[in-house]
Symmetry: C2
Subunit: 305 residues, 2 copies
């Protein structure tokens, strides 16, 4: 079975929550690594509501320091603590957040029972934030009113798949599986060289997810997100509010679709909708006219990539 790569939307509203949409947060599961992306107020409530694995989150990425993207952090950490967490938590965030969180904890007499490892993101640059044997996460710059990062989550290249029947046929020992997975040729029981391509098949291509919130229309971002399987791109407004979008450093549905097209992604997911819109149909209509493979975020939506 293929390793998991799925995204749970925890909030799809910009700025303020509405009766049906909470503010920004997403939970991404790649191969059972749980990455929380942004953490607006009440994210811990959304996590419970959608039965997400609360304590499995070991990495939290904060795109920028507008309140709708991080005001849920103090409560989430407090609840993790109260629920007995002991394993470390990594937080990747712009400079300044650690200091305020320390002050909040001091003020509320909170001493977390688990270590928090803070990783400062750097304004305006691209940087690898996390890597293990299966996944890597990169930050890249977005253009917003304040320092803001997008994030790229990428599976590592999977090992080559072994055809076990062919191992027997070519008298190759199972001890050589690790070499075969890496793509190397091996010697068989008769001392003959057997080509890797005789014994293995190509693995599925690695998948990638890119998160772009908040940002004005900016084609430079395409270089960082080229060809990803799923692009989340904010679309705070519809195109008739393009002037307002530009002024507030946000994007319209059409602009999000334009970026998806230019970056050659496979699918685009719109979110971060302004609270002024009750019904979102026009976002789909506008974006899909430019880029048909388009989804709208809604709280609780699970997207398998």
């Amino acid at each position: 079975m293929r390793q998991s790569f799925e995204l749970l939307i925890l909030g799809s509203s910009s700025a303020s929550p509405t009766s049906s949409r909470n503010v920004s947060a997403q939970l991404l599961n790649i191969a059972e690594r749980y990455f929380l992306i942004d953490c607006g107020e009440a994210t811990q409530i959304q996590l419970r509501r959608f039965k997400a694995k609360f304590q499995s989150i070991d990495h939290i990425f904060i795109s920028h320091l507008h309140g709708d993207h991080f005001f849920g952090l103090p409560g989430l950490l407090s609840s993790m603590h109260l629920l007995g967490r002991q394993q470390p938590l990594n937080i990747y965030a712009p400079p300044g957040l650690k200091e305020v969180m320390d002050k909040l904890n001091k003020l509320s007499d909170t001493r977390l029972n688990f270590p928090v490892q803070w990783h400062e993101t750097s304004p305006g640059t691209s940087k690898m934030l996390f890597e293990d044997e299966k996944v890597e996460v990169h930050a890249f710059p977005l253009q917003h009113r304040i320092h803001c990062n997008g994030f790229l989550f990428r599976e590592k290249k999977l090992p080559r798949k072994i055809d076990k029947f062919k191992l027997e046929k070519h008298k190759v020992s199972t001890a050589d599986i690790q070499l075969l997975r890496k793509g190397l040729d091996v010697l068989n029981a008769d001392g003959e060289l057997v080509k890797n391509s005789e014994l293995t098949i190509d693995p599925l291509p690695p998948r990638a997810y890119a998160y772009c919130s908040d940002t004005k229309y900016n084609e430079e971002v395409c270089g960082y997100i080229q060809g990803v399987d799923l692009l989340y791109h904010e679309s705070t407004f519809l195109e008739d509010q393009a002037a307002r979008a530009a002024k507030t450093f946000h994007s319209t549905a059409k602009q999000a679709a334009d970026i998806a097209l230019k970056a050659g992604v496979k699918q685009v997911l719109l979110g971060h909708f302004s609270a002024r819109y009750r019904v979102l149909d026009d976002f789909y209509t506008e974006a899909s006219a430019v880029f048909p493979n388009c989804l709208l975020a809604s709280d609780g939506k699970l997207i398998k990539i």
Copy 2:
């Protein structure tokens, strides 16, 4: 019609939210003054959910600085700002909160469009926090792990009620109504003294609500809350957890009822239930055995006093 005096429960859980209970917050309406009492995370969401008058809140009282009582403040203020608020907001809170809120606003590049007037509460003392022609609000000390205040909300004595038929009968001018309301005797058209008691009837007695969260069992509190119409008293645990309650400076359901009995209040409301309890029936059973006129808080419950 009698002026309003009603309490809306916005959260009834202690420490962490559960699937059915949010953390502490209550909205008290006395004569169209809206007082928010504590402001745990997601209070703004609860206000929307229960269709409360969001922007009518001019006074917020924070009992103490454990996160479940104030982590909703940054988001609430941000949304008030985004929704166009301009009128001043008063916040009554322990020392230190203003400084952290200022830092949060600076970090998130938030400049509120309305003035916030901060009023520091004083540890361990009783103090009048607010007064106008209809209501007064007092803080009084509770015994918790950190500095914590209870709050007493009291209607002012209502003016005497005029019997208009008797005004005519006794030839008293309507110009004298203000004097009569204050309880004074007046001269009639014939220059005769007419006793106030001939023309007016007693107003309804002023009502009072007391809020006690969080606190260990402490009989000294009875002096501040004697005879109130409704007492909210935390009951984080049931009596079989009395040792745990004492250790964490919380109360049990029985202890809350004991305080209600000793303070001679008319009705007691229990809340701040530990997340360990899914069903709350035992809280009612335990408390009502001591003090029958007992209610359990639940999110969205509206209590007319």
